[in-house]
Every structure is written in C-alpha cells, then in structure tokens.
C-alpha cells in the first residue's frame, strides 16, 4: 500500500468507496424501475413485445445486469473491508469510518442482491402480463 497516493488515485479510491457502499442500492433501484415500468406499461399497451424483443427477455435483462453490478459492489465492499482491517485504537479515524461503511456496504449489497434474485425467480414463475 502506498502511503501517499496521488490526487487521481484518491479520487478513484473515493469513488470506489462509494460504489462499495451504495452500488447495490443504485443497481436495485434501476432493476426495480426498469422491471416494473417496462412490465406495467408494455402490458398496458396490450403487447408482450417491446420493440421486437420479447417482454420476458427485456425484464430478464433488467434482472441480470443490475444483479451483476451488485455483485461488483459486493466485491468492492469486501476489498474495502480487507483494507480497513483491523481498525486499531489510535489509528486514523478515516479507517474506522471506512470500516463502518464497508460493513454497511457489504450487508446492503448482499441484501439488494437477494431482492433482485427473488424478483428474478418470479420472472421464471409468472407469465409477464397475467393480471
């Protein structure tokens, strides 16, 4: 670990940090809005295709891509967790703070991944436009 990373590395590190904490949440939000919006509005128009693509495939993409992004955030959180381990007394406060948010990010990403996967299960069970 370099002791004094340059400003670009710091910016990248800071952004990676927030991806680790909130990446899953954002991915899930995209999944939800896309999945719900595409399903409800396409079905309202009386079709189960969206621009030639079967609705089930479109919704499937709205499940799979966010799930991948969430897995990425989960890995980033693990990395952050390892890099802030162990937070000993007297050490810089940033490490303790990073540690806290690493744990928060890890659990959040896991939780959001679960939600996305459960939504994906429903896609396997239910026809896309059944009311």
């Amino acid at each position: 670990m370099s002791a004094h990373p340059g400003p670009r590395a710091r910016l990248a590190g800071g952004l990676l940090f927030w991806y680790a904490v909130l990446g899953g949440a954002v991915a899930w939000a995209v999944h939800l809005l896309a999945g719900w919006g595409v399903d409800e509005l396409t079905c309202a128009s009386g079709s189960d295709h969206i621009g030639g693509v079967p609705l089930r495939a479109a919704v499937g993409a709205a499940v799979a891509l966010p799930a991948l992004a969430t897995v990425g955030a989960l890995l980033a959180a693990v990395l952050l967790w390892r890099r802030t381990h162990p937070p000993s007394e007297g050490e810089d406060r940033s490490v303790g703070r990073g540690r806290l948010l690493a744990v928060v990010g890890f659990w959040s990403n896991l939780l959001f991944l679960t939600i996305i996967v459960l939504g994906g299960v429903a896609l396997l069970v239910l026809p896309p436009c059944q009311r």
Binding site: R8, R10, L16, L41, G98
Partner: protein, 206 residues
C-alpha cells in the same frame, strides 16, 4: 497502470474523504436541487406513464407532433447561459468584480431571451391546444410552464446577485458563497431543460 490500480485500492485512497470541505450553504443548495430534481423526475415519469397508456398515437389525435426548430433555438440559448455564470464565478474567486457583473448580465439576457421564446411558442400552441384540451395538453403546459417558472426564479436569483454586486461591498475573493449557490441552481435549471427537450420534443419522434 497496475501501480495506479494498487494506489487507488490501497487503504489511504479508499478512505479518502470524499466529499469534503463544502460549506453549509453549498450543501443546503445541493440538497434543495436534489429534491427539486426528484420533483422533475416524477413529473417526467408521469408524462411517460400517461403516454404509454394512451394508445398508439402520441400526441393524441388532433394535436400535431411538436416542431423542433423553436425548442432547439431555445436550447441553444439556455444551455450556453451556464458558461457566463461559470466565468463570473471564477472571476469573483479572484476578486474580479467586473467579471461577475459582466457574466451575470450575459446570463440574465440569455435567460430572458429564453423566456421570450417560450412565450412566443405558447402563443402559437395555445391556438392548437390548451391546458384543458386533454392530458397531453395538461402535461405539455405544466411541464414547460413549471420549468419556465424555475427559469424565472433562477433569473430572479441572477438579477438579485447582479444588484448586490453592483452595490459593492457584497462579494469578493473571500465572500462568494451566494454566487456559487445561485450558480448551482442555474446549472440545474439548464440541465432540466435538456431532460424536457428530450421528453417533450424528441421522444414523440422516437
């Protein structure tokens, strides 16, 4: 490259404090803009919600698809209006009051031009349909009108800044929070216009 990756994923980089060092006013304005942006997101979301449930033809029968020339001119007026604000802000950071005054004046003029163009567009459109014609009419006027109101508020802020800077004794290299906060609002008003351009004028052609 791999050294860069290692540096960026090291403890020191990962625990960089980001964001840092902003003023309370900055945060206040950013939070206000965030909540306003959510409002616009809901408004544009409502547009698409109604659009996709209203049958194949959009705009609905009796209303022609919006023409593009005037809105593109409006865009060409409004989007660049952020530049003088940025230039003015950089100026006052260096203590150059003249740049602040000149930049704000330029933005004020561009913003007023935008509003004048919008008024002329309304004058045409109102012959074709109004707020009460149907849901499309309601959406069109409420979305553009609400944005116009924001432009007006933004212009009031700019005018207010200009008045304060003309008085003297208001802003300088050490005191420019109000300039930056108003600038954030103005940039926001600009960006929202881009979203509206896409939603109202471009998306019916897709």
């Amino acid at each position: 490259m791999s050294g860069g990756v290692r540096a960026a994923t090291g403890t020191a980089a990962l625990t960089t404090e980001l964001p840092v060092g902003r003023s309370t006013g900055w945060w206040g304005m950013v939070m206000f803009v965030v909540t306003e942006a959510t409002l616009f997101a809901c408004l544009l979301g409502s547009y698409f919600y109604l659009r996709f449930q209203s049958g194949d033809q959009w705009p609905p029968p009796g209303i022609a698809p919006p023409t593009l020339l005037k809105p593109l001119v409006m865009t060409a007026v409004l989007l660049p209006s952020s530049l003088p604000v940025i230039w003015a802000e950089h100026g006052i950071r260096k203590g150059q009051r003249w740049r602040l005054r000149a930049g704000l004046t330029a933005t004020l003029l561009l913003g007023l031009t935008f509003l004048a163009l919008q008024a002329s567009e309304y004058a045409e459109k109102l012959h074709e349909f109004t707020l009460t014609t149907n849901a499309y009419g309601s959406l069109f006027y409420v979305i553009t009108g609400f944005h116009g109101l924001h432009v007006l508020v933004g212009l009031t802020m700019i005018g207010w800044l200009l008045a304060a800077s003309l008085r003297g004794g208001s802003f300088g290299a050490h005191r420019h929070d109000r300039v930056r906060n108003a600038a954030i609002y103005w940039h926001f008003v600009d960006l929202v216009w881009a979203a509206i351009l896409f939603t109202i004028y471009l998306s019916p052609r897709l």
